[in-house]
Symmetry: C2
Subunit: 431 residues, 2 copies
């Protein structure tokens, strides 16, 4: 398609999405749930038809020399399909919060005032590689009564088209507008620029992908963006932490998986417990090949431990830039801090305001950490890896926000809604 | 001040606000309430000192040839001061919602997850003429635990400086950071451009003023803006409306005051009731000198009524542009619609999504209007003039939002806060 056609295509998607969003906003819960259950069935029943489309994407990606992990993320294995189908069924089983009215109270004038939860309208989703995101976004749009325009990665275009056809079929079976979920049909990169600059049609953009993509979108978007750029998450081991619990949490936060945004990238240890805790966690990290970027105090303690040297521990002097770093790898920064004040100060200065945890027995410290650490998710005595829509009980997750405006932290159905005021009177007027 | 100094001044305000916001976020409710009560006392006790500053502004404005209503808005009369002082006392008496934790529930993993209400950080307020806004914004900043940078109109600079000194004194008396509320000290218009482009210091901008100012700010701001551009509000008189109630509500919505954003600018009447309702409301409008811009059907009914002609009713044929218009004057557009579908269709097409009301006895129509009209405030059987923070029970109002993102409708304390996730565990890790 040439540039002119890209513009026309996006305009037409926008117009159709806007029209569909008005119908979705008043769609009965039963119809939305029927669409979700039908979609789950179609996914399970049409694996044979999805396979060739997915194979074409994988073949093209392999030929283009994409890395093995990138190609892996493209794969619609039976397990991946079953997982997204289950997600649809779970969303169908959840209560429908659209139309709920909260806080209805009578005012001195006699009017009763409350707030009704309504869909936000149209969201645009921009993502890369993993085609299962197509189903996650579609199912969240359906449940939340929004319309969505999906822009997947060019490497997954065949898979995404095949999946989008199933979504259309499910919408039609439930007598919902088929334009409620639309896939951008061109892989032209110009389409992204168009999608993020149509405030007349699109209410919010949700990008998922590399930092470069998200920065570009945030800079150029003409509508609000729900996003996080970095996950520079911390665990602070307080002086009163139970050693076993602290070891388990720090180990899990760092090493359970290296790539998620909620994995820990920084470890802060209170000075009084450093000499006992650091060698123990250092041994675990050494055994797992995790490089430790340490401040002087932490390095001194770790280097003084002969056992760590035997284990081949990689103890490196940290640079100032390490405190800002999101490694997404087998690397962690480590700093000994005087206590809770220094820990909160360090986190509020260097953290990406994503997820930060404290391990402590001290009630006052726990309360202060929760209140004063300025991050989307603050955690006492559990792994940072829990910061996730499913683990938080949201039922699903469309993304994670590190902004304070509108949605903060894992974003589920509620983040795709807004509250409008509803007023019930019996003829009251203003005097 | 030259441009360089404006930049330095704003940078320094931003830095100081950011630092103050961290202290305000953890300030005890007692200290914030003490500051508010002290401010109320200072306002009442220092009228003699406020008077000369206010007189200087009024003299300058009069000399500059500002209109009488503009000069009126500048005046800090004893009544204006008592009203803002009472507002401070009322805020002090309200419960403090900062730090409240909502929805704490245990998840299958064992962790308990809830959300804590925290201040948004720093807000910038840009406003014109009325110096009492300085106190309203300052008191909302204090109660909500935010820091604020206030940029009032140049015509009110002396009054605003005098009021800001009282705010500083009140903060100091309560041992709160005096930088929690700062006034931009220059009247250079460049300061507005700077204030809206400091995302490192300012989390949200709240403009109040003419449409031109707000459009410019929305276009150029590098941070979110809480705003409404227009208040093109409607009343729909349904076929089953009680005539007396409908007359009272439409009259009040249009004529109680012409200038507020929540005054009605459009009247829609269901066809079956048009012949009985329109002459009755027409007589009221004629008596009050309200010009009626009518579609053909409404004009025919009104012109057929001899009594209206005697009253000197101004019945004008509406142009398409009338349906979009926010008159803020003794003018109303009038259209006869077939029924609820046409009414909702008209409103969703032409309304500014601010406030729209229906007068009806029909339960199904009332429910549909509430659900389907896409406006920040939707009202059944009461005047649009109620769409206001005080009338809605918010205790105070920093502005009204017609956006769907974050805050919608009248914005009080809650709109100046965000919810962060808090997680309480007993050593849980992700498996």
């Amino acid at each position: 398609m040439n540039a002119f056609n890209v513009h026309e295509h996006l305009q037409s998607l926008g117009l159709q999405a806007k029209a569909a969003s008005a119908l979705m906003a008043k769609a009965p819960a039963a119809a939305k749930n029927k669409a979700l259950r039908t979609l789950a069935l179609l996914l399970r029943d049409n694996q044979a038809e999805l396979a060739p489309a997915n194979a074409a994407d994988i073949e093209r990606a392999t030929a283009a020399g994409l890395s093995a992990p990138m190609v892996d993320r493209l794969k619609l294995t039976p397990q991946v399909i079953e997982t997204v189908a289950q997600g649809c069924d779970q969303l169908a089983a959840m209560p429908d919060s659209i139309g709920e009215i909260i806080g209805m109270k009578q005012q001195p004038s006699g009017i009763r005032v409350g707030q009704m939860r309504v869909p936000i309208g149209v969201f645009g989703m921009i993502y890369e590689s993993r085609p299962n995101v197509t189903i996650e976004a579609a199912s969240l749009a359906i449940k939340s009564g929004n319309a969505a325009i999906l822009r997947g990665g060019s490497e997954a275009i065949e898979s995404n088209r095949a999946l989008a056809r199933l979504v259309t079929e499910a919408l039609r079976a439930a007598e919902l507008p088929v334009d409620a979920v639309q896939l951008v049909q061109t892989t032209d990169r110009e389409a992204v620029g168009q999608l993020i600059a149509m405030p007349e049609f699109v209410d919010v953009i949700i990008p998922r992908g590399g930092k470069g993509l998200i920065e570009r979108i945030s800079r150029e978007a003409k509508v609000p963006v729900i996003k996080h750029l970095d996950g520079n998450c911390h665990v602070f081991v307080d002086a009163t932490a139970e050693l076993e619990m602290a070891l388990k949490i720090v180990d899990n936060a760092k090493t359970q998986k290296y790539s998620p945004c909620n994995a820990a990238e920084g470890l802060l240890v209170a000075a009084p417990i450093a000499a006992s805790f650091l060698p123990a966690i250092g041994a675990i990290f050494a055994a797992k090949g995790v490089e430790m970027r340490c401040d002087a105090a932490a390095a001194a303690i770790l280097r003084a431990d002969g056992r760590l040297a035997e284990l081949g521990a990689r103890i490196v002097d940290a640079a100032e830039s390490d405190w800002y770093e999101e490694y997404l790898a087998a690397v962690i920064s480590i700093k000994v801090v005087e206590g809770i004040d220094a820990a909160i100060g360090h986190i509020n200065r260097y953290s990406s305001h994503h997820t930060d945890a404290i391990v402590t027995r001290d009630h006052v410290h726990a309360q202060r950490f929760l209140r004063e650490v300025d991050s989307a998710s603050v955690i006492v005595n559990a792994s940072t890896r829990f910061a996730d829509g499913f683990e938080f009980g949201l039922g699903a997750e469309i993304g994670i926000s590190t902004d304070k405006f509108h949605a903060r932290g894992p974003v589920g159905i509620e983040g795709l809604t807004s509250l409008k005021y509803v007023v019930l009177g019996q003829g009251e007027v203003r005097s």
